[in-house]
Amino acid sequence: MPALVTDSSSKKRKSGKNASGPSSKRRAVADDNFAEKLSTIQELENQIAESRKGYNNIATLLSMLNVEKSAEKPEMAVAVSLCRVFSRLIAGGNLTESSRAAENEKIIVAWLKERCLDYQNALVAIMREADAASQIAALTLSMRIVKERLAHIPGAENNVWSTGFFKDIFAAIIEAHNGEDLQSEAVAKFVKEYEDVRYYTFTQMADYASTTRSPETLEILIKILQTCDEVPGPEHKFENFYAKRDTKNKRLVSSNSHRKQAQEAWLAILRNNLSQSQRKSLLRMMVHNIEPWFNRPELLMDFLTDSYNVGGATSLLALSGLFYLIQEKNLDYPQFYTKLYSLLDSELLHSKHRSRFFRLLNTFLSSTHLPSTLVASFIKRLARLALNAPPPAIVVIVPFMYNFFKNHPTTTFMMHRSIRDKDLLAQVENEGMDDPFDPNESDPNLTNAIESSLWEIVTLQSHFHPNVASIARIISEQFTKQAYSLEDFLDHTYAGMVTADLGVEERNLKKIPVVEYQIPKRIFTDRLLEEDGGVDSGPGCFMRNLWEF
């Protein structure tokens, strides 16, 4: 749309240039209202261009904009023409006050400035309230004014970008009514395109988010920030600028300062009151979208530890970010493993972040320097959870354990333990034993899991699904394989297993399936019950005892 607008405006400008020429022909042809209005606008504009006397027409045009009361239905043609007028005026230096100018000159400049401000406010109002097409047009016009001001008014940089017009534009973009199109337009055409616009957007964002905002607004901010995913490297050449740049200003050409602004913006958002789902989505994009912007990722620590302490899925998601900090920035997280251990709860294996978590867990526990007691606690806890886990989770857990057993040979006592102490042996033979493992202990070093055995996995060897059962059986076979590649086991689902069993289409069965060799007398009803003396004991009696058909 803005392309269209600029196109038409350039056309108009052309026609404006030959306005003194014979345009009567066109006028004769165009006899409807719109054309008339256009011609008036054109005329007014021409008058402004011709002499100072026409300046009063600016006020007329402003009043024609139709934005005083509400900006819902602005006259965009007027806006476009005004934009031309002001651009010309700014370029002509008519808005710059020279100290030597005469009093009446100053008055004119001041008056023009005021009108210009009026116009800017009108544009902002249009962006906030009008329909999508007008909003976008207004955005383009505003940015054009910004460009002109920066090009022709010396020392306006700070004035326009940080405190002045751009701030209003930014706020208008964020708060615009039905502003999805506007925002995406702004991001695509300006923020992503021009590095200076991006820089100042970050600045404005940090400023804007420093006060508490509603989650919806934050959502918009996050979206805008998320789309800026090209982090400039240290060698990046900043050349793509929207407006003329003050050469003295070195901030715009340093990637550091760019990243600093982005960091500020992100931090401002992270500190705001995020909803739970926003927090999760932020955590999800933490590693790929947020952390690269940060010069000092340790600033994320607060957010991550807070999230980690929330528990549940949020904790799971915070893990990867936290891990990044621990790994890269040497973050010291006290009792990390205790916390990690506490994450292994009943929901974990049923959660959709299961595979993500297991990937991380694998990394955390891959060190061979970890105490065996700790690893044993993790193994035992996972075994306990596996008793209530769906098949896809069990399929992960068992090879996972296998790898632990390989890396920490002391833990293999959990699979194979012969009691040497004769007294103890006699006691066990006579009285049986309890599981030495303490499931309620939160410190993984103290759970005594290494004294326990993995009866749970042995039970799972008789899991109803043959594949799961045979995977569970690996722990009682000889450990000849070096390690199982976890990735092969991670992403199974019920649906996948069903398709694996049934196939998408019926292929030829290789084998004649076995059929039960006796036809039961009864399936649902009490048929022929008296033959068996009234006692239902045939196959399927279990169901018939419980249910009445």
């Binding site: 749970e456 042995v458 109803f464 000849t480 086991f489 004649i512 060799y517």
Partner: protein
């Protein structure tokens, strides 16, 4: 400088004792033996003739073990000798051939198989004998008197004028030898000497006669003759009779033969080539019975149809065999028990995931299927499936007598069959179960001719019965539906109660033995029925379970003969469930899953249908969300179904525990605050909490509860409390089933906690009838827990034999032979060997051919020279002759002139 050749020769002769001074007698004896002397001389000759032996003029290389070929190649060769040998051979063969070319005719040996190198002498002899006897049978010439007993005979005064009998009469006993020789010559004269082959036969004949003659010498000649004549007459008459009989029968049969062939062709081509011949052989033996049958068929109303039927029977009739003696009741029972035991053992082995190898011919690897399923689990594909201990299932009682009724009973029940719904379908099942009882041996059921007549007459009588039936509403014949829509349109106007009758009629009308295509049709029909079960389950609120049960039993009996069709249909249904409503099972699905558990063994380690069915249930239990009481009811149904599935194999199902505990927590009057265990707690979207009151008593759950939620709060509470008691008792049964599991404690401690909580919250608020199951289940679980604690031992899983370290010692070949190729790839080695041999042979053949050619050329040259020389000689002779004549003439002329 070495001494001269002569001196060397002398020395060596002396050394060998050929020459030289007289030796002692002993030594001389040794020497004098000509052979040793000859050998010695030969050696000396060889040594002194250096041109005979080929020498290697190349300097020899270092001797290496793996040097190819013998290092002494050409060392001991004597090219002169070999050359002269070859020359000799050629002279013997090639030259002869050359000389006799275009000059001499050959004798062609046309005896059968004489020039066929592939035949062994025995085969040749056998084949010749067969031909000979065939020729004898043909008997082209009436003048061939070889064995013309049944031919016209010349008689004189009632006495035969044949040569064998009376002609001996005319001779004196003393002339017997002459007579025989005379006879022989006469025979030779009369016989048409068609082939050499008869030669042997003739001789044999003579020997026979001689033998026959031998005992005759003791009796008087007249007696002998009489005897012979009488005997031959008797035999002749007998043969004539037999031949006439055969002729008649053959004529009769010939007329029917085209039909028979048609019938044979209609039947699916049998695997054994011998089979189609069997009936043909039968005809001669079964002659009387057949004749009777044919007569019968003449009299029957629909002779053609009857005839067709009979014909089909004939096709499958077996050659009568000696039957086993009738078994006593005990023996039968024992056999039956044996069979059941075998089937049960098979089941147990399948349950353990072992392979059945003995009886199934198309026994595809069970693992293979598993591997397929795990194909994406690349690491997991290596898992073997070792046996793990399970208890044996209690031996089956004899309660399934209705499945295995012996054939005679079957005939009886069928003959007075009434179309009572229950009975008749029972019989149908019996039919197929009797098929099945014969079937497992891998035999095609079609071969089972023994039961067939009874079977068919039964079917016929059933049909006849139908026509007599007063029930006028039902049609008697139905087409066999190909898809569910057709079936629905067939049964559109049929009351639900009548559907089993319809099914039964369709099955009777399309019995596989009635028509070749029926087997496929019934297979298709089985698929339709599977679809229909789930359709019926979904259609009505309260499905008619008696009817459903009947249909499922029909499917089961069809599954025995068409396992593939039923499996495919079930899998299609399961796939539909998995795709469209994995977490929202319909009542029809539940019924189908229940039915499925009856016709497929759910205890198998892997079963193409039972395993996905398990997975479907588990997925439903594991992931479904509870929104209403009906959801809970169907979940409870699914949970009970899970336990039903695991009654035998006792496998653990985490989803079951999760679901039941979750449901109980949801049903509990107050929401539990603490967590009871590792099962994930999911709150029901709509509160289903029980309001404890003394007004309601738990009842037995009904299938209707799955489909409809009661609106009345009183009824709702009743359903809730019933659900609670059912779930609790399910947990109790589960604890029984899994009591032996090593992690029983871990599984059931949370269960216990939940039940205790439930007991606590219901205490004194509901009837004892609702309290009681909770208490009893708790007691049961407690006792199981105590037991589990008692048997708990540390795991001792890795008591394996230590693995041998892989060795890297190279394989050492004893007696390594460099000439031998140690190629591990046998095929390649073989082909290499053949190639080498071919090359060698080719070279040899080329060389031989070349030598032959040069030999021929030489011979021709020699011949030409000879001819030329001869010509020259002749020419010279002639010239000389002429010259001498000339000279003589000149002389004469001179002389005459002189005289003149």
């Amino acid at each position: 400088m070495p001494p001269s050749q002569l001196k060397q020769l002398k020395a060596s002769l002396r050394e060998n004792g050929v020459l030289g001074p007289q030796k002692s007698k002993k030594e001389n004896d040794k020497m004098r033996r000509p052979e040793s002397r000859e050998i010695a001389l030969q050696a000396i000759r060889d040594r002194f003739n250096p041109f005979e032996i080929k020498t290697i003029n190349k300097s020899s290389k270092f001797d290496v073990t793996t040097r190819d070929g013998n290092t002494t190649a050409g060392g001991g060769a004597r090219p002169g000798v070999t050359k002269s040998l070859g020359e000799e051979r050629r002279r013997a063969t090639l030259l002869k051939e050359m000389n006799s070319r275009n000059k001499v005719g050959g004798l062609v040996d046309r005896r059968f198989g004489e020039n066929d190198p592939t035949m062994t002498p025995e085969e040749r002899a056998a084949e010749r004998f067969a031909r000979e006897s065939q020729r004898k049978m043909r008997k082209e010439s009436m003048f061939n008197l070889e064995d013309d007993d049944d031919e016209m005979q010349l008689t004189h005064m009632g006495q035969s004028l044949s040569f064998d009998g009376p002609n001996q009469d005319d001779f004196e006993a003393g002339d017997l030898e002459d007579a025989e020789s005379d006879e022989e010559t006469s025979r030779k004269r009369k016989r048409i000497p068609d082939d050499d082959e008869n030669q042997d036969q003739d001789q044999e004949d003579f020997i026979d006669y001689g033998d026959e003659e031998q005992p005759g010498r003791k009796k008087t000649k007249a007696e002998v003759m009489k005897e012979v004549i009488a005997k031959s007459k008797f035999y002749k008459a007998e043969r004539q009779q037999a031949k006439d009989d055969d002729e008649d029968l053959r004529e009769e049969l010939d007329k029917e033969l085209p039909d028979l062939f048609e019938a044979l062709r209609g039947i699916k081509p049998s695997a054994k080539p011998a089979k189609p011949e069997a009936p043909k052989q039968d005809f001669s033996e079964m002659n009387p019975e057949r004749a009777a049958m044919l007569e019968e068929s003449q009299t029957s109303k629909d002779p053609e149809k009857e005839y067709d039927q009979r014909l089909r029977q004939m096709t499958f009739d077996q050659r009568s065999k000696p039957t086993d003696r009738t078994k006593t009741e005990e023996e039968k029972a024992e056999e039956e028990a044996e069979r059941l035991k075998k089937l049960e053992n098979d089941r147990l082995r399948r349950m353990r995931g072992e392979q059945l190898t003995d009886d199934e011919e198309d026994n595809v690897d069970e693992d293979e299927i598993l591997d397929d399923d795990e194909s994406e689990i690349d690491d997991a594909t290596h898992f073997g499936l070792p046996a793990y201990p399970t208890e044996t299932r209690p031996e089956l009682g004899v309660e399934d007598e209705d499945d295995f009724v012996i054939d005679e009973d079957l005939v009886e029940t069928n003959s007075n069959a009434s179309l009572d719904m229950g009975d008749s379908d029972m019989e149908e099942e019996e039919d197929s179960s009797s098929d099945e009882s014969d079937g497992p041996d891998g035999e095609d059921e079609l071969i089972n001719g023994m039961t067939l007549p009874a079977e068919d007459s039964a079917a016929a009588s059933t049909v006849a019965e139908v026509s007599k039936e007063a029930n006028g509403k039902l049609a008697f014949t139905y087409p066999c539906p190909k898809d569910h829509e057709t079936f629905l349109s067939i049964t559109k106007n049929v009351a639900v109660e009548e559907i089993p009758t319809v099914i039964q009629r369709i099955r009777a009308l399309h019995h596989p033995r009635l028509k070749p295509g029926n087997k496929d049709k019934l297979g298709r029909f089985a698929e339709v029925l599977v679809e229909h079960v789930s359709y019926m389950g979904n259609k009505t609120e309260q499905p008619p379970f008696a009817i459903l049960e009947n249909i499922i039993r029909h499917i089961h009996s069809l599954a025995k003969t068409h396992p593939l069709n039923v499996t495919i249909a079930c899998r299609a249904q399961l796939r539909e469930i998995g795709k469209e409503r994995p977490l929202n099972l319909l009542p029809g699905d539940l019924i189908l899953l229940t039915g499925l558990s009856t016709f497929f063994p759910t205890s198998d380690h892997f079963h193409t249908t039972a395993t996905p069915a398990h997975l479907c249930l588990a997925r439903y239990l594991g992931q479904c969300t509870t929104t209403s009481l009906a959801d809970l009811a169907s979940g409870t149904f699914a949970a009970s179904l899970c336990l039903q599935y695991q009654q035998v194999s006792k496998r653990y199902m985490p989803e079951f525990v999760n679901y039941t505990l979750n449901a109980l927590c949801n049903l509990a009057p107050t929401e539990p605050t603490a967590k009871f265990g590792a099962f994930p707690y999911r709150k029901s979207q709509e509160s289903v909490q029980l309001v404890p009151s003394k007004k309601v008593t738990p009842r037995k759950l009904q299938f209707r509860d799955v489909t409809t939620s009661p609106s009345d709060p009183q009824a709702q509470e009743e359903l809730k409390i019933s659900l609670v008691t059912t779930l609790v008792s399910l947990l109790g049964s589960a604890s029984d089933i899994w009591a032996e599991k090593s992690a029983f404690t871990e599984i059931f401690t949370p269960v216990r906690a939940v039940l205790q909580y439930l007991r606590q919250s219901l205490k004194g608020k509901v009837y004892a009838a609702a309290q009681e199951p909770i208490q009893s289940t708790l007691d049961k679980i407690d006792s199981h827990l105590a037991q589990a604690r008692l048997v708990r031992r540390p795991l001792f899983l890795h008591d394996h034999k230590p693995l041998a370290i892989k060795t890297a010692i190279p394989k050492f070949e004893e007696n390594f032979n460099p000439d031998k190729h140690y190629d591990p790839d046998r095929e390649r080695a073989e082909s290499n060997r053949l190639k080498k041999e071919f090359k060698r042979e080719r070279k040899g053949a080329m060389r031989e051919l070349r030598k032959d050619a040069s030999f021929v050329a030489r011979e021709q040259l020699r011949e030409k020279k000879e001819r030329d020389a001869e010509y020259e000689k002749k020419y010279k002779r002639l010239v000389a002759e002429i010259q001498s004549q000339e000279g003589r003439a000149a002389n004469e002329y001179e002389r005459a002139r002189g005289r003149r």
